[in-house]
């Protein structure tokens, strides 16, 4: 059984890799919030069903996965890996990591950065991001995407952003989908 499961996972990961390679930012358009939620859930379930949960990191403004009693640094290293922290921009490292700020003090935007770097530092191959929160300004979104692009390309991670923003799709035609591609079940 373990051998079979391992092959299933490998096949599934190869299929996903075909869709989201090379490591970069990928955008999937969802017409409304309901469609976005459904797609987000289906993608997570596909990874879980194929035993590939460990290769997926999540970035979401709601279920942030931030443990309140741990510092930002400890939340970042929660998966027990101390891989290259140099991937994290100086500003973030100086303000939050060195000061060892408690995670409860983070803003929503900072929480998104924390989730991004946690996935990158843990070496997750794919990061699935639920659209930006409405309160984030255009400039903040742009800054986040710039930082994310640098980090994921350096680490070899693909960030899949589910979004209702058509401008993002038109701005990145080579790495965008107007309809979410199906992640087929390798066990089927």
């Amino acid at each position: 059984m373990p051998l079979f499961q391992s092959n299933t996972t490998k096949t599934f990961q190869a299929q996903v890799r075909q869709l989201f390679t090379p490591a970069d930012l990928y955008f999937i358009y969802c017409a409304n919030l309901s469609a976005l939620e459904t797609c987000y859930r289906q993608y997570i379930q596909a990874f879980m069903a194929n035993g590939a949960r460990k290769s997926l990191g999540l970035i979401t403004p709601t279920d942030t996965g931030v443990v309140p009693y741990l510092s930002v640094r400890n939340n970042l290293l929660i998966n027990g890996r101390t891989k290259d922290l140099a991937l994290i921009p100086d500003a973030f490292r100086r303000d939050l990591l060195q000061a060892d700020v408690p995670a409860t003090a983070l803003t929503v935007t900072q929480t998104l950065y924390l989730q991004l770097f946690r996935g990158v530092v843990a070496g997750r191959e794919f990061l699935l991001m639920h659209d930006f929160p409405a309160r984030m300004t255009l400039q903040e979104r742009r800054d986040f995407l710039n930082v994310a692009a640098t980090s994921v390309r350096a680490r070899g991670t693909s960030l899949i952003l589910l979004t209702q923003d058509e401008n993002l799709i038109t701005a990145h035609p080579a790495t965008s989908w107007t309809t979410a591609p199906q992640l087929s079940d390798a066990t089927a």
């Binding site: 859930r41 997570i44 379930q45 879980m48 949960r53 460990k54 999540l58 279920d63 942030t64 996965g65 931030v66 443990v67 309140p68 009693y69 741990l70 400890n74 939340n75 290293l77 929660i78 998966n79 027990g80 946690r118 843990a122």
Partner: protein, 248 residues
Amino acid sequence: MRFLDRALGALRFHRRAYLGELFGILVFTCTSLFLLTCQNNITVMRQGFLSRLDQFDHSAVTQAASLIRTVKHTYATLAQSYQWGWWGLLVALAGISFALTLWAGRQRQGETTAYLLVGKSPWDIAAQYLLESLIVYAAGFTLVWLSVTLIGTSLGSQLSQFTNTAFTRTLTAALSGTTAAQDLEALMHAHLTSFSGPGLLAPGAGPQPQVPLNGGLRTLLAGALALLGGQGAALCLTLLLARRRLHP
């Protein structure tokens, strides 16, 4: 992020809840030690009574059979009451742990979801939560045990006296006055050798041991098992539901 650091961080964060648990553990440990010590005292007293009976000739013992039967029955009843009380205490600990962990599961829902989202296995999360409880349990037990060892020298004799009084009260209620007096008189006329110490029926709980209370190890192990059992069952349920809610 190391497992132990997470557990210690959670202990600090949920300190009010864990102070409540510490109080509960202090009550459990004290009650358990009390019941086990009383049970031990009863056993020692019964042993003393039986060895004193050996100092009477057979005919006297046969004559006082009704009295002896009642005394033995009283010893057995008391020992059983303490034993059942102790088992009841363990069941209560497991049940309360189960209920409180279910309640705490709701309070810690966000935290549990966070761990599941970063890919921690339910086993890993349950182990952390159980470790937190075990640390509090060990602290509570140590506190009681140190107090007993350091300042509880008079406690043992007080408990001996308590057991003696409880036995006398139960025995008095069980005996019919006239028959008992006659039987006792018959026995006392027939004793072969004199015995030291007061009382034939309740010879006392024996010399004081180095540690004034009994059942330390039993309390420690059984309490830990009851606590982990109750909390473990509740955590299985909580984590299963949390996982289903997250990824139906």
